[in-house]
């Protein structure tokens, strides 16, 4: 009986509310056709704006669309941190789950602190005018040296702590967007060095990568530094062109991951005495696959957002190129493992293939047509498998999640592929060079050389500074690597104080294969 009374009351409430709304439909606009009209334009005389007031409003709206786009895509990229956390934790062992997850979590905060303190200033302190975001020109100090009669920009010097004349809406939008990009780089080495990295060592790294390592190379390509000037100074295409960061973001992370993995050494039990590798299966493939999906989702922000302009309608091409390359990358990896390698469509390799396709298309996504994008993804899917076999079996470098192959190798492939496949339909005036960005296959070989210089520079610079930084960190934390006992029993308790899966029984020793 009480239930019927309650239902009756609900019906009455809804009916009354509906009736009440029905009385006010004159002002409401359910179809949306008459909302937004001349009355919404800011004017001294409401409803009668002057021409210059209309022009102001149009300009304001243009920048507003761009800023909303930059912020929202930035939020998408921030979510990729969750993807990285799940992929890396899923592909490693249960006994280290808390440690791996904690690194992926804290890298967000630590990297951001570094980027806030000095990273942003070094990277963008000399970029000059922020074109799509209103043209603010306060970030105008680039430290440069003169060589051969040319000026080589090395790093910016305005905007430390986001202060010193940078209290500006455009600067803050740019900071948010570029900060989440930096965190993508920062979190890549946590994968290749997972399951054996001292947390103290990692914590110092987190601040330095955001405050120093990433921003310097970033400045050279994106902040007006010397790699971006190769075109205007030496006529090499448009200088190094990297739309969303195959080199700036992924290759930097990948090379750091490589240097770190070499310096920290393989996990206990990874290699037998004769050098053959043992499989160390990840403990949660479903988690890793969800993480891969989150990354693919965030990548729409990563690539399309890099236009820094919602009003640049090329973003639809960018987004479709991105998704096509991710599909062909995953497909190529699946088929390659299935038909030519283990005769199984290895799920973790399919994931790596999709991520490889995404990494590779990151630089060229705005400059190539969709068939090139498909091809770039296909190559990436095969390349990631061959590279991971090469690093694992030939060079004996233990990379639990394939970070080096996905981000390093395919980052390089992505930057080079731009120099090959850019079809000259976009990028007019890029880096201050007239004309559109055109690759080798479409008639501009010099663009490919510029890309090649970018790749070589990245490897040399990142490897060198990575080695020095890891050495210094190792000195302060008595080595970067945990003790063998901690590695066998799992890092969760010795490093973090609590299990990732408290109350769950697990055979921790059997998670480490016996090296024979």
């Amino acid at each position: 009986m009480r239930k019927f009374v309650l239902i009756l009351l609900m019906v009455i409430t809804v009916s009354v509310a509906n009736f009440a709304y029905a009385g006010t439909t004159k002002l409401a606009d359910p179809s949306g056709t008459s909302t937004g009209n001349v009355n919404d334009i800011t004017a001294v005389t409401p409803g009668k704006p002057t021409q210059s007031e209309i022009a102001d409003q149009v300009g304001h709206n243009k920048v507003a669309i761009n800023m909303v786009w930059v912020l929202v895509t930035g939020f998408l990229v921030m979510f990729m941190q969750a993807g990285f956390a799940l992929v890396e934790t899923g592909l490693t062992r249960a006994k280290n789950a808390n440690h791996t997850m904690a690194m992926n979590f804290m890298v967000y905060a630590l990297g951001m602190i570094g980027f806030f303190i000095s990273g942003f200033a070094i990277m963008f302190g000399g970029i000059g005018s922020l074109g799509t975001l209103g043209g603010f020109g306060g970030l105008s100090h680039e430290f440069a040296i003169n060589l051969f009669g040319h000026t080589f920009g090395l790093f910016g010097t305005t905007g430390f702590f986001l202060s010193g004349g940078t209290y500006d809406v455009a600067v803050f939008a740019l900071f948010l967007f570029e900060m989440v990009f930096m965190d993508t780089t920062a979190t890549i080495p946590t994968g290749s060095m997972a399951e054996r990295w001292k947390f103290s060592s990692f914590a110092i790294y987190g601040i330095i990568v955001g405050g120093l390592i990433y921003p310097i190379f970033g400045n050279w390509v994106w902040g007006g530094g010397w790699l971006s000037q190769l075109g205007s100074m030496f006529g090499l295409g448009h200088g190094v062109v990297d739309f969303a960061g195959s080199a700036v973001v992924h290759m930097t992370g990948g090379v750091l991951a490589l240097v770190g993995a070499i310096m920290i050494g393989p996990r206990v039990g990874k290699y037998n005495k004769n050098g053959t590798p043992n499989a160390i299966p990840g403990h949660n493939i479903p988690l890793a696959i969800v993480g891969c999906f989150i990354l693919a989702f965030g990548w729409f922000g990563f690539n399309s957002g890099s236009s820094l302009a919602g009003g640049d309608l090329r973003i639809s091409v960018v987004a479709v190129n991105t998704m096509i390359a991710s599909a062909t990358g995953a497909f190529a990896s699946m088929i390659y493992m299935w038909w030519f390698k283990t005769k199984k469509p290895d799920p973790t390799m399919m994931m790596n293939g999709m991520l490889a396709g995404l990494v590779a298309i990151t630089a060229p996504c705005a400059f190539v047509n969709v068939l090139s994008a498909a091809l770039i993804g296909l190559v990436a899917g095969v390349l990631v498998i061959e590279a991971s076999f090469f690093f694992e079996r030939k060079l004996k470098i233990d990379d639990p999640v394939g970070a080096i192959s996905v981000h390093g190798v395919n980052g390089a492939w992505g930057v080079l592929s731009l120099g090959l496949f850019a079809d000259g339909s976009y990028g007019n005036g890029w880096n201050g060079v007239k004309g559109t960005v055109t690759g080798l296959f479409y008639g501009d070989a010099s663009q490919f050389f510029a890309q090649l210089i970018g790749v070589i520079t990245n490897i040399i610079y990142v490897a060198a500074i990575g080695w020095v930084v890891f050495k210094i960190i190792g000195f302060f934390t008595h080595g970067m690597r945990v003790k063998v006992d901690a590695e066998l029993g799992g890092l969760d308790v010795p490093e973090m104080g609590i299990e990732g899966y408290s109350g769950v029984k697990m055979d921790k020793n059997s998670e480490t294969p016996l090296a024979r």
């Binding site: 990840g282 390698k341 283990t342 199984k344 973790t348 694992e392």
Partner: protein
Amino acid sequence: MKKIEAIIRTSKFEEVKDALRQVGIDFFSYSDVTGVGNEIRKGELSYRGTVYDTSYIPRQLLTIVVRDINAKKTVDAILKTARTGVIGDGKIFVSSIEESYRIRTGEEGDDSLYNK
């Protein structure tokens, strides 16, 4: 009273359980066990391109305590249903139980067993 311990293939568990129920054996405990033996899962597992073998063999361990008169039909039921003829079908061990008590009522011996 006899204790019958049977190690059987995990894939045969449902069939064995059914057969035991049909001969009136409704109560027993079981657990997942892992063993090492002649059987090696060769080439079955692959992870990130590394094909590897494992000697860990998953099996199910049934522990059934029955009255002496029921021992034979229990064993027969398991023998009949758990067999595939391929190496690795498992083992049955029968041993004598000296005493048995039902905790709730304090009953002893045969009376304390569920399987009548």
